[in-house]
Amino acid sequence: MAVSEEARPKQGKTPARARLASLRFPRRFSCDDVFEASSIIFAGVIVLIIVVTSVFLVRGSVPVLESFGTGFFTGKNWIAAAGSESYSALPFVLGTLVTSAIAVAVGVPLSMGIAIFLAEMAPWSVRNPLSRVIELLAAVPSIVYGLWGLFVFRLWIRDYLETPISNYVGSFPVFQGTPLGLDFLTAGLILAIMIIPTVSSISNDVMMAVPASQREAAYSIGATRWEVVRTGVLGYARSGIFGATILGLGRAVGETMAVTMIIGNIPALPASFFQHGATMASVIANEFSEADPGSLHLSALIGIGLTLFLFALEINVFAQLMVWRVLKVRGGSVE
């Protein structure tokens, strides 16, 4: 008995059945709707936070921007003494740029070395434990970096790096000044250490996401391990590694406590690596609780916060796009 349209009801019956159905399986207003709606609302909190942050930062900066206009970004002085108040973000913007540049210049090559070693070269048995240990660098609180930086790291830098440099090439403008260790160079170097776990672990992920076929192709033509890395892996992972670098830069730009404790906190335009300085984050940390509510000083600090926010936002949006493209669109299994 071959049946394909067995016992089809007459067309006319269907509406009656539909009515009956809604009686037997009524779809109530259900908790599911409430559940979905509340999950959307909670997810919306994330958007709200970003919007509210922008609004408050802009609103708080209005007084200082009204008083100084573009001078807030081009002036040279930061004087909080009543009567001779003058505020400019420039010394801090430059301070942040200098310390972050040092951090990236020193930290990224180190991180690359670590990532390549752990992803491609190290014996299998040590890869996981070693990467865990490197990640612990990220677990150490910033304030502890600061304490260690001030009492230990600063002395190493002063005695074994800055003093020799000062002795030999101290006449170069960028190395002028007495090397005390409380300066841009030390701050940049401690940031370099602090960005290593971020940059190396994301680069590692990106390299792991490179398809095995890329490596096999290189090995099959007799390449050495290093040649496999250079030709097969790095080329493929390039944009993700670049993204990791930018994320590291974002970390360095926003890092506060360790820098505050070893940069010297003098708001001056950077001219030498061996000079006391300040960054956007450090001046906020130092002066915020001293500024009177409603004062121009507070507004200036919030203005610096706004500037820092915009820097960090741009850097991170850019970096997320780079990393995201590699890890997700190329089908990496990481996230």
Binding site: V3, R8, L20
Partner: protein
């Protein structure tokens, strides 16, 4: 190409032959012109099948013919896949479960399902696995839960094996026990129909035999629809069998008749292993 031409020719003959049967028996589930899609992929084409009450109905056919999709349409699980949709009607006791305003959750309580791989809830004990459907639908009465768990495990031939370790994790059982646990879990919410999607494909022959025995005993109280790629299994456990090919119903009838004397050449070729 030739196959689909053949199918078109076969169609008219088949619909006439069915008229006599339809009036006589009580049908638990009837599908009318059931179609289903995954995005733009049309996987079920105008399926109309009547499933008789208190019988085991087997759905057979080669991989990708739409067997699983078909039974997932019966309890509205198909629509949970992103991009999936369907059209046509599925009548459960003459009520269209796809009618506007129908709550799919209520449908699924009446039409239980057992899956290809045993999937007990990994964080729950044996007891909690069986009780999950009731508990999470608001049953708090412990005596009632105890009774339901015992009854369901007995129906699933599992009670004697696990009655002393009801607190053990559900995933600590063997594969066959896990699958019977999943059957007990489905039975606990007291459905009227049990859908089984290749329930033995991940099991060894001994566990399979036990499940088949269980299926036979279930039909006195339930209507069972089982998808299987194993033709011997269909022959052993079912009363009626439907053969699907490329999303179309090729032949449907009593199991003995279909296996011993198929009407369609395509069915015969499939049963004799000429393709699929």
């Amino acid at each position: 190409m030739t196959l689909s031409l053949q199918l078109e020719e076969l169609k008219p003959a088949s619909s006439e032959a069915s008229a006599i049967r339809s009036t006589m028996e009580k049908f638990k589930i009837q599908t009318e012109k059931l179609n289903a899609w995954f995005a733009n992929n049309h996987v079920l084409k105008d399926l109309s099948i009547n499933v008789k009450e208190n019988e085991v109905t087997a759905i057979i056919g080669p991989s990708g013919c739409g067997k699983s999709t078909f039974i997932r349409c019966l309890n509205r699980m198909h629509e949970l896949v992103p991009g999936a949709r369907s059209s046509g009607a599925v009548l459960l006791d003459n009520t269209n479960v796809y009618a506007r305003g129908t709550d799919p959750v209520t449908v699924r309580r009446k039409v239980g399902m057992v899956f290809q791989k045993p999937n007990p809830f990994p964080t729950m004990s044996v007891y909690d696995n069986v009780a999950a459907g009731l508990k999470l639908n608001g049953v708090r009465d412990h005596q009632k839960l105890d009774r339901a768990v015992k009854r369901s495990l007995e129906l699933a031939f599992l009670w004697d094996e696990v009655k002393t370790d009801l607190d053990k994790s559900g995933v600590s059982l063997s594969g066959g026990q896990q699958q019977r646990l999943c059957i007990a879990r489905a039975l606990a919410v007291e459905p009227e129909v049990i859908l089984m999607d290749e329930p033995c494909s991940a099991l060894d022959p001994i566990a399979t035999a036990k499940i088949e025995e269980l299926i036979a005993s279930l039909k006195s109280q339930y209507t069972v629809v089982i998808v299987t790629h194993n033709m011997q299994q269909a022959a052993r456990v079912s009363d009626s069998t439907a053969f699907l090919y490329l999303g179309k119903l090729i032949e449907y009838g009593g199991t003995t008749q279909l296996f011993e004397n198929p009407k369609e050449e395509l069915t015969e070729r499939y049963l004799t292993g000429k393709f699929g």
